[in-house]
């Protein structure tokens, strides 16, 4: 989850109330923030916020909701947005690669170090949460006094222009060179992979403002002397670029700067002027009985309006007594359904104030596989075996150690393994049990270990192309481990289930086991497993030097018989 460090004194200024760090630690959770760390010496609180609330990426955004929580200021927050005259003309060619641009002019900024940090944090948070790492939204912040409008958002051939990019200001580079040589270019080149021309923003004098979503031109760099800003946000998702702009613009407004709108005009639709940022609230209708039924409460319309006001929404009654009109601030991007309002009412009401209701009823039911698995465990523990629990993830190398061929066509194979340790899944329990012996070779012997667990197998008849199978595996290691010992354990298991007479073992040869001391296990003519002494080279492959014997059986065929 994204995180943010809040400074108490700054938050006090924004909220307009004296705050105590202990109270704040308690209060923040009820507006949906997770307190990660409290530094009482520095008076700082590190919080984490959920990815659906990028407006929480600044102290300004958090203060807005805290003011509601403390009832210092409720309802829809108001921002002063001035009508601007600055224009950006959009060449329709951008539609093919990065269709949307919005922005704003921000005047009279006087940012301290903290506020600069906040801006960088918001930019990063938006690039991540709404921008999907700059694909859907990329944000540029420029020194407005170094450029001249109107601006042009168009496209350019990979070597159609040369300019000095940020961070490599010593070089004049073409977009192609930036994508190949500039650190940011290399990192974001994939976003322009299939483009014949790249998106670019020029000012009226033809200076490069930015090459979105990669990098800005150097001459618009923001310094401590910067007084006025130009914001550009480009992207592939109209809603996302606007939400992002609204979140930044509202933060600037809360910082005391003057936000001015920008006119966006597409060349092929000169009459349609888009004025951004657009702070018109989103509206939704909710039903009183829906809210009450969802929360298990009996709130009146006024109660609900009060709850919504506390979380900085507006609500008003309509002719229909059951319906409220709700206005949602333009910086909130997480309202898709009436149910999203329900949660806001719950937060306004206070999760801590909800009374738990315990409804009884229902009949529990055991899963037959688990019942059978536990029975197998009981039987093997009774025979002195220690239970192991091993990972489902496995390695091709483990199969080879067992003397088995690993054929990618016949096995489950991971597409993106973290390491060679996990590049497939287990098709038998024996692998894990051998590794248990290997891992524990210095522990006090003798070992009698078992596992009851699922293995995974390819299965063309399933919609997912694979199935799980519940197995029992038993392994012994000691000076005197041999076939007769492991056979006694197998017999003990079948005898306890009462099916010893339905089982026969047929000699086979298998690379994991010693020939003449191994066999396949059949239950009612169905092959269910294997038993034998482990082949010496296999023992050595696992770094062991004592004889080992094992059996493994598929438990699935027994379920039905056991259930009936």
């Amino acid at each position: 989850m994204p995180s943010l460090t809040l400074k108490l004194d700054r938050l006090e200024k924004l909220v307009g109330k004296e705050l105590k760090i202990d109270d704040l630690e308690y209060d923040l959770q009820w507006i949906g923030l997770d307190v990660d760390d409290v530094n009482k010496e520095e008076n700082e609180i590190k919080i984490e916020y959920d990815p659906n609330r990028p407006d929480y990426s600044s102290p300004e955004g958090i203060a807005r909701n805290l003011k509601g929580y403390y009832e210092i200021e409720i309802g829809l927050p108001e921002f002063q947005i001035n009508e601007g005259t600055e224009k950006i003309n959009v060449d329709p060619k951008v539609r093919k690669i990065r269709p949307f641009v919005v922005g704003a002019i921000v005047r009279n900024i006087d940012l301290d170090e903290d506020q600069v940090g906040t801006l960088m944090n918001i930019q990063e948070a938006l690039h991540w949460a709404l921008g999907r790492d700059r694909m859907k939204v990329a944000i540029g912040i420029h020194d407005y006094d170094q450029v001249k409008g109107p601006y042009i958002y168009t496209t350019v051939k990979p070597d159609g222009v040369k300019f000095r990019p940020l961070h490599m200001e010593a070089y004049e580079m073409t977009p192609k060179e930036i994508l190949e040589e500039h650190e940011m270019g290399i990192r974001y080149a994939h976003l322009l992979k299939d483009a014949e021309e790249y998106p670019i923003i020029y000012d009226a004098e033809g200076k490069v403002v930015s090459l979105p979503p990669i990098i800005n031109g150097v001459h618009t760099t923001v310094t401590d002397k910067t007084k006025n800003l130009l914001l550009d946000l480009t992207g592939t998702d109209f809603k996302a670029v606007n939400y992002s702009l609204n979140i930044i613009a509202s933060t600037f407004a809360d910082m005391g700067a003057k936000v001015e709108t920008l006119n966006v005009i597409y060349d092929d639709k000169p009459d349609e002027i888009l004025k951004v940022p657009d702070f018109k609230p989103q509206t939704m209708q909710v039903h009183l009985d829906y809210i009450n039924s969802y929360l298990g409460l009996k709130l009146s319309a006024n109660d609900i309006i009060k709850c919504l006001n506390k979380v900085r929404l507006n609500a008003s009654k309509t002719k229909n007594k059951n319906i409220l009109n709700v206005k949602i601030p333009a910086y909130r991007c997480d309202f898709m359904h009436e149910v999203d309002i329900v949660e806001e009412v719950a937060i306004g009401y206070g999760y801590q104030n909800l009374i738990p209701v315990v409804k009884e009823g229902g009949f529990g039911k055991y899963h037959h596989a688990e019942v059978f698995a536990n029975k197998a465990r009981d039987i093997m523990i009774g025979a002195g075996c220690l239970e192991m629990v091993n990972s489902t993830l496995s390695s091709q190398k483990d199969y080879e150690k067992l003397g088995l061929d690993f054929n990618e066509k016949e096995q489950i194979v991971l597409l993106n393994p973290v390491s060679e340790l996990f590049n497939t899944t287990r098709a038998n329990l024996l692998i894990g049990l051998m590794k248990n012996l290997s891992f524990n070779r210095s522990a006090e012997k003798p070992f009698r270990l078992f596992e009851v667990g699922d293995i995974l197998l390819l299965d063309k008849n399933r919609d997912v192309g694979a199935r799980r199978e519940l197995h029992l595996g038993v392994i012994t290691l000691s000076e005197s481990s041999d076939f007769s010992e492991i056979k006694s354990l197998l017999d003990h298991y079948f005898r306890t289930l009462g099916i010893l007479n339905d089982v026969i073992i047929k000699p086979i040869s298998n690379p994991t086991f010693i020939e003449g001391r191994t066999g396949e296990i059949y239950y009612k003519k169905k092959k269910i497993g294997i038993i034998g002494e482990i082949y010496p080279q296999v023992i050595i492959n696992f770094g062991l030097n004592y004889p080992v014997a094992a059996f493994e059986i598929n438990l699935m065929p027994f379920f039905k018989d056991q259930e009936e």
């Binding site: 719950a346 220690l386 997912v464 799980r468």
Partner: protein, 523 residues
């Protein structure tokens, strides 16, 4: 230790050793003791000392000490003295006061059969000891006797220790000779080794116990044999039966035992069953469709990316359900479909939904269960799932690529957030956590959503246990589950519970199964 009416019985021969130890009255090295008593070491340790320890009269502890051992060269000096002493003795023959060094070296070579190197070592030591002085005033080096009757040097004293003890190895060197030990070590006259010393010592009880308080027996027996029971000899032999230190630990046994994880899983299972839940299981190899799309996670959601999820190369694609279901999910994502939602507003792709992966949460299985619900299903329905899930992560002390997840859902009419809190409070109470707090949270597939924390008395702290919420309409409508029927859901990681219950530092232990840990594990 208090003995009422019953004397501690020890063997007569062991009593003699006890008396000796009482006389010594301080810790003594076991080998030294065995030499003093003239009892073979092994016999002493496994016999007397073991028996005395068993009845709580003696104890022994191990201590690592440095042992120095004479080299072959040093052994040859034991009788004849160190080279410097031998040379000095030759020098002082015939009342000589001075000698020319070059001539003298030849003399020593003949007389003592010393190499040149050894000669100069000796001369330099003699100078250092101020036995001799040298001068080059004549144009060649001369040496003069400086000390007529030099005392034994510290190095010689060390050698004498070996001689006196009649042993090639020593561990107890007086402190004042430590430096000399270092210097003869540098001369390669001794080697140094670490050795475990076993120190035998009487317990406070052992120190003060008297013969009257003991029952001395001549012939101790350990077991009552079948013969004794048959022929009645047990009656006379009973007093000779060795007493046990009844509070001592018995020897280890290789017992069969549940893995702690199984125990905890079964506990969770019992809690669910006792609350009227039915257990469900589902496929581990899963389609992205059920794992993500049905849970209203947009296809560009970061959690779906390769670095968070294990996708499969084989099998790579699944079959997807009926067209109608696919169409519903597609519409829900694109424009909300019939759910009353705006949807995500992007172009949904069947290809992405078809991808096969290892499920990242058991909620995928819960969703498959929702698909089986029909108008005839009896509500409320309560089901749970405890099973393995996977995340593409490198493993360390606190992270696993594979772990167990617990999921519980209740499907019913008019279920509310207050009902969900009620289920959570009841569930965690039965899991042993009396205090439960729920706060606002976020999950893509629930709304409202809650984070759940519980108070652990064992750790004296609040712990974040997992998430919960009511499934979004975008999730349930595809399966015909429509308001006012709602689905309450919560989930938590089992390993988190296990870490608390087992006080586990390294979470990987759970799947490595260290046998020594398992044998010790309590639950």
């Amino acid at each position: 230790m208090i003995y009422i009416n019953q004397k501690l019985s020890i063997k007569n021969e062991h009593y003699k050793i006890l008396k000796k130890l009482q006389k010594i009255n301080k810790p003594i090295e076991a080998r030294t003791l065995s030499e003093k008593l003239k009892i073979p070491y092994e016999k002493l340790m496994s016999g007397a000392i073991f028996s005395l320890e068993q009845v709580g009269l003696a104890k022994f502890q191990e201590e690592e000490v440095e042992v120095i051992t004479l080299t072959k060269e040093a052994k040859s000096y034991l009788d004849s003295g160190l080279p410097e002493r031998q040379i000095y003795d030759v020098l002082t023959q015939n009342d000589r006061k001075e000698v020319k060094l070059l001539d003298f070296s030849k003399e020593i070579e003949q007389e003592l059969n010393f190499s040149k190197r050894l000669f100069f070592v000796g001369i330099s030591k003699m100078k250092k000891n101020r036995w001799i002085m040298s001068s080059k005033a004549m144009g060649y080096e001369q040496i003069f006797i400086n000390n007529e009757s030099p005392e034994k040097t510290e190095e010689e004293q060390v050698l004498d220790l070996f001689k006196d003890s009649n042993s090639d190895s020593l561990s107890e060197i007086p402190k004042k000779l430590q430096q000399a030990v270092n210097s003869i070590y540098n001369r390669k006259l001794v080697t140094k080794d670490k050795k475990i010393l076993r120190l035998v010592e009487l317990t406070p009880n052992g120190k003060k116990i008297t013969e009257e308080e003991l029952q001395l027996i001549d012939d101790e027996i350990k077991l009552i044999s079948s013969e004794m029971l048959k022929d009645g000899s047990w009656k006379e032999k009973l007093p000779n039966l060795k007493n046990y230190e009844v509070n001592a630990l018995g020897p280890n046994i290789a017992a069969g035992k549940y893995h702690p994880l199984t125990v905890i899983i079964n506990e969770v299972r019992e809690v669910f069953h006792s609350m009227g839940f039915e257990e469900i299981k589902g496929t581990i190899v899963e389609e992205a469709f059920y794992n993500f799309d049905c849970l209203y996670q947009p296809q560009d959601h970061p959690a779906r990316e390769m670095h968070d999820t294990f996708y499969l190369k084989n099998p790579a694609v699944g079959k997807l359900p009926k067209k109608k279901v696919i169409e519903t999910i597609k519409n829900t994502h694109e424009n909300g479909g019939n759910t009353g939602s705006t949807g995500w507003g992007y172009k949904w792709s069947e290809e992405i939904a078809k991808k096969i992966l290892l499920r990242t949460h058991t909620t995928a299985t819960t969703i498959r269960r929702l698909s089986h619900i029909t108008k005839k299903s009896k509500l409320p329905m309560k089901v749970f799932c405890v099973d393995r899930v996977f995340r593409n992560e490198s493993e360390d002390r606190t992270h696993l690529a594979q772990f167990m997840q617990i999921d519980g859902i209740v499907i019913g009419e008019n279920l509310s957030l207050s009902d969900l809190i009620g289920q959570l409070v009841e569930f965690y109470k039965r899991m042993g956590f009396e205090k439960v707090v729920t706060r606002p949270g976020f999950f893509p597939y629930t709304e409202p959503s809650m984070e759940v924390s519980v108070y652990s008395k064992k750790l004296g702290a609040w712990l974040e246990m997992g998430g919960s919420g009511i499934f979004r309409p975008e999730v349930t409508y595809a399966w015909g589950i429509r308001d006012p029927v709602r689905v309450l859901a919560w989930g938590l990681g089992l390993e988190r519970l296990a870490q608390i219950k087992l006080k586990l530092g390294d979470i990987r232990h759970l799947y490595q199964s260290p046998i020594s840990w398992l044998r010790e594990a309590s639950y």
